[in-house]
């Protein structure tokens, strides 16, 4: 038999059938693929038809925003945003004196602008910015003190504004940001401690995490506000807000620790071994190899925790702090605006949605940015 070698010509690629691609393909596959699916699609359309127009009518088309008393809203059938408009300043700043509110605006503007290059480090705008590390150090370790001076005053001729006058969204953001920023590193340390080989450290971390997780946040806040002063000597007094900040940070750290521990457990043993075999010390191995991967793996869980923390800040009303929800509640009990609580709460809901949805979207953005697989 003669030996011949056939030359293999690969088949060319073909386009997939029309029902699998494009708008038609998407509709056929996702909305109309089976009788049940057709039924569910119709049900969805009916639900939207009956719920969205009335909601929009109340929120926008029949709503009132002009004027400055509740009489402007009578008989419209829509929301009375006049209430929110008139009280807007209070909702944002609490009882912070209006002539000093520039201090808050300036500080948050600096924070916001400073965070942009770090949050979007990879974008065209910030790729050339070389001082990201310095900026991060500044924001984490110096800015909080500057912000404290700006808000409290008493330096550079700025009058003192007692923390009892702080309130509204301003206070909500202070508690949430402090809780988030402090709880992440604390959570990392607690998670590492819980996995440590050193029994004392391990037991301390387990004890702290389990104790804090076994108690409701309200209890922790109440303890921080009412119980701690009983144990302190006469005359020594921590500020109530500072105690709340510490309580929230520690509470959140215990939850973060467990989320991060989950991430640590997902890192294969081989990663530790490869790092160790190259001579990396424990902290370098954790900081350069293990933790970046573990944190990346638990971004959804961590951000979920932060969103929960953001909403839990409303519980500070139990110790008499006027966060945005509490101040809205108080304002809607004013006889001048009687009966407009729904507008106040709707406004608060939108406000919370904006922040929480923003965090959630940023977490998705981060996951995509940090994805290094196939």
């Amino acid at each position: 038999m003669a030996e011949t070698t056939a030359h293999h010509i690969p088949k060319p690629d073909r386009e997939p059938p029309g029902s699998y691609v494009g708008v038609r393909g998407w509709i056929m596959q996702n909305l109309l693929s089976s009788p049940l699916n057709v039924f569910m699609t119709l049900l969805g359309i009916v639900f939207l038809w009956y719920s969205v127009p009335p909601l929009l009518n109340w929120l926008i088309f029949n709503a009132t925003i002009s004027g400055d008393t509740r009489d402007n809203c009578i008989g419209t059938g829509g929301a009375c945003w006049v209430f929110v408009k008139i009280r807007f300043n209070q909702f944002m700043y609490g009882f912070y004196p209006s002539e000093e509110q520039w201090r808050i605006n300036l500080t948050f503007a600096v924070l916001f602008i400073g965070m942009l290059p770090l949050m979007f480090w990879d974008s065209k705008l910030f790729r050339g910015f070389r001082y990201k590390r310095e900026l991060a150090v500044f924001l984490l370790f110096i800015f909080p003190f500057l912000a404290g001076f700006m808000f409290y005053g008493g330096v550079f001729g700025m009058p003192v504004v007692e923390t009892s006058q702080w309130g509204g969204l301003f206070l909500t953001l202070i508690i949430a940001i402090t809780g988030i920023v402090a709880s992440l590193p604390l959570g990392v340390l607690l998670a590492l401690g819980r996995r440590s080989n050193m029994p004392v450290i391990k037991m301390l971390c387990i004890g702290f995490i389990e104790l804090v997780r076994a108690v409701p946040l309200i209890t922790v806040l109440f303890m921080a506000s009412v119980m701690i002063p009983l144990f302190l000597p006469e005359g020594v007094n921590f500020n109530k807000l500072v105690r709340a900040l510490i309580a929230v940070a520690l509470f959140s750290a215990a939850y973060s620790a467990e989320t991060i521990r989950g991430g640590l457990q997902s890192i294969p043993k081989g990663q530790y071994e490869a790092a160790a075999s190259m001579g990396l010390s424990y902290w370098k191995m954790m900081g350069l190899v293990v933790m970046p991967q573990a944190l990346k793996a638990v971004i959804p869980g961590i951000v979920s925790g932060f969103i929960g923390l953001f909403k839990d800040t409303t519980l500070v009303l139990i110790i008499g702090l006027f966060d945005v929800l509490n101040i809205v509640r108080a304002a809607s009990q004013d006889p001048k605006w009687f009966g407009l609580a729904v507008e106040g709460y709707a406004f608060t809901a939108i406000l919370f949605f904006v922040f929480c949805f923003g965090m959630s979207q940023y977490s998705i953005f981060l996951e995509k940015k940090l994805h290094t697989g196939h």
């Binding site: 294969p268 081989g270 990663q271 490869a274 075999s277 190259m278 001579g279 190899v289 940090l370």
Partner: protein, 264 residues
């Protein structure tokens, strides 16, 4: 009577670079996992430039043996001396030894969150305190040597298994080790990719690197090894130069093993 085995086919023998200088010494090393006695009275002396292939059935302790050399596993009895430094609880000794000894794993263990180049420069920068530019230069040199400089900016997840393992070899070489340990470096690879990794290892051997390789690639053993060690149940059963090991094995356990892995 002795049964004859057909030695694996080889194209050419890699010239030996063995010297008289002892680089690793294991003296009466014993190790247990709980009550399981995994290494029994191991005595092994490795010369600088020597290439050793360790083979044996699974569970025979061959991986544990080489993992004891850089203390990924702790031994309980006996001494292990690497380049004159005794492995003990002293962290400084351990750090010194781990910088001297490179290791390549079965599952590559590249760091998936870092690019290929960053994988290679991580330890030189953070352990040896090398400036970034210099570390990158060295990394590119070794990536070129394992023939994948063009992948430097990719992430490990974007590479094939064979490419990943070659990166892992380059990553170890960047620390300029005196000894390289290979723990079944081709066992997790698709057959098409085994040879590209073995070729890299043959190149490395030809340059005179001291190597201890746990592998079932008997062709590689025959071509490169100065000595083949056969382990079973935690013991070194037999050790000999490859020609002698394959053509004239002494123990019946070795013969059985060879007949099983060379019969097809």
């Amino acid at each position: 009577m002795s049964e004859q085995f057909e030695a694996p086919q080889t194209t050419s023998q890699v010239a030996s670079s063995i010297t008289n200088e002892v680089v690793i010494q294991m003296l009466d090393v014993n190790k247990w996992y709980g009550r399981f006695h995994v290494l029994k009275d191991i005595n092994l002396t490795v010369m600088r430039g020597e290439r050793i292939v360790v083979c044996g059935p699974s569970g025979s302790g061959k991986s544990t043996l080489i993992r004891c050399i850089n203390r990924l596993e702790e031994h309980q009895e006996g001494d292990i001396i690497v380049d004159g430094v005794t492995l003990n609880d002293d962290i400084r000794n351990l750090d010194a030894i781990r910088q001297e000894v490179g290791m390549v794993f079965q599952s590559f263990n590249l760091f998936p969150h870092l690019t290929v180049l960053q994988n290679c420069t991580l330890a030189p920068i953070w352990v040896k305190k090398m400036p970034k530019g210099e570390a990158e230069e060295i990394a590119m040199k070794f990536l070129t040597r394992v023939r994948i400089p063009e992948q430097a900016d990719k992430y490990p997840g974007q590479l094939s298994g064979g490419q990943q393992q070659r990166v892992a070899i380059a990553r170890s070489l960047c620390m300029n080790p005196n000894v390289m340990l290979f723990d079944e470096p081709t066992s997790a690879l698709d057959p098409e990719m085994i040879s590209e990794v073995l070729d890299t290892m043959v190149d490395l051997a030809a340059e005179g690197m001291t190597m201890i390789v746990v592998t079932h690639e008997m062709g590689f053993a025959n071509k490169v090894a100065d000595r083949v060690i056969f382990m079973d149940r935690g013991e070194i059963v037999e050790q000999a130069p490859p020609q002698e090991f394959f053509n004239n094995p002494k123990s019946d356990r070795t013969k059985l093993f060879l007949s099983q892995i060379l019969s097809h």
